[in-house]
Amino acid sequence: MMEHLNNDFLIDYLHGQLPPEDDALAHAHLESCASCRGEYEAEAALGEALRSTARAEELEFPSMIAAEIWQQVRDARPSLASQLASLFRPAIAVPVAAVAVVALYFAAPLAQYAGTPAKHVSANYYLEEHAAQQAQNPLGERSPTAAQLIESSAADIGNAADLAAAADAPPLAMMAAADASR
């Protein structure tokens, strides 16, 4: 005959938490030992009393709790400002900043042209310069005066202001245009 089971062992048995071999041992012992059975029944009665008390005291779920929870959940929903702010959190801001830096690096040479406003260069300057060069060229077929050049080109090219607007075109092309117009 094995010695009596202690209450800790009985509590584990009651909750079905013993390893199978111990469980079988306890089961066999309780069959034959009235003293241990009495103790086991007392433990089982405590569990039953706890459950029946809990059932008897069971409370209804107050609807005001549900309402309060939804209210708080609604209030906790992030505002537009905080949603925008969340775009600046590191997970997003760091890659975006990296891409921006790389883009800036490659765009910088372009910005030298694009960034500075086109200088307002008078077309007359080029035409006069061209005429002067032509005049000094002893081998030139013709050496028209600046006044003649301006006069002849004005008809085709329009006024000098229009030319100035297109001043980001290379000077050479403009000279070619002036030449072609003759």
Partner: protein
């Protein structure tokens, strides 16, 4: 929410021993559930996840109160004086129910420490396994086992003492 609300509210009521604290606890737990919705593992028990949140919040709340009022939390094997947590306003109906059915067990349950109460509620009322309780309470199975043993021994002593004719 209605489905789990009642179970959670009653669980919170068993832990706190009063409706006002149970309401706050249930409310905080559900708001946390809402926030942490994405971290819930599908296929696991939703209710035991909520119970875990309630248990954690209850423990945090007790710690907070302990810090504020310098209340000594009882050791695992020392009975707690639970009276301090009961709000003054208890309706006559609750009083009646408690006298009729809760006595002396409810009172005895209220005298356990928070951890002991948690483990008894989870093991005997909610009928979770030790493994599940360990997951809910965030402790080892051995701790669950020893807490339950001590809690039940204490409960039986308290109930027997209360039933003894004076």
């Amino acid at each position: 929410m209605q489905q789990y609300g009642k179970a959670t509210y009653n669980f919170a009521y068993r832990l706190t021993g009063n409706e006002a604290d149970a309401r706050d606890l249930t409310q905080d737990a559900f708001i946390r559930v809402y926030r942490a919705w994405r971290s819930f593992q599908p296929g696991t028990s939703f209710l035991s996840w909520i119970y875990r949140i309630v248990t954690n919040l209850h423990r945090d709340e007790l710690r907070r109160r302990k810090g504020r009022f310098q209340e000594e939390l009882p050791e695992d094997n020392a009975p707690a004086n639970f009276g301090g947590q009961r709000p003054l306003a208890v309706t006559p109906i609750e009083d009646y129910v408690e006298r009729q059915l809760g006595e002396p067990l409810s009172k005895a349950l209220g005298q356990l420490s928070a951890e002991q109460r948690q483990v008894v509620v989870l093991a005997d009322i909610e009928e979770y396994s030790y493994q599940e309780i360990a997951e809910i309470m965030g402790c080892s199975i051995g701790t669950v086992r020893s807490r339950l043993h001590r809690a039940r021994a204490l409960l039986r002593r308290l109930v027997e003492r209360a039933q003894r004719p004076t």
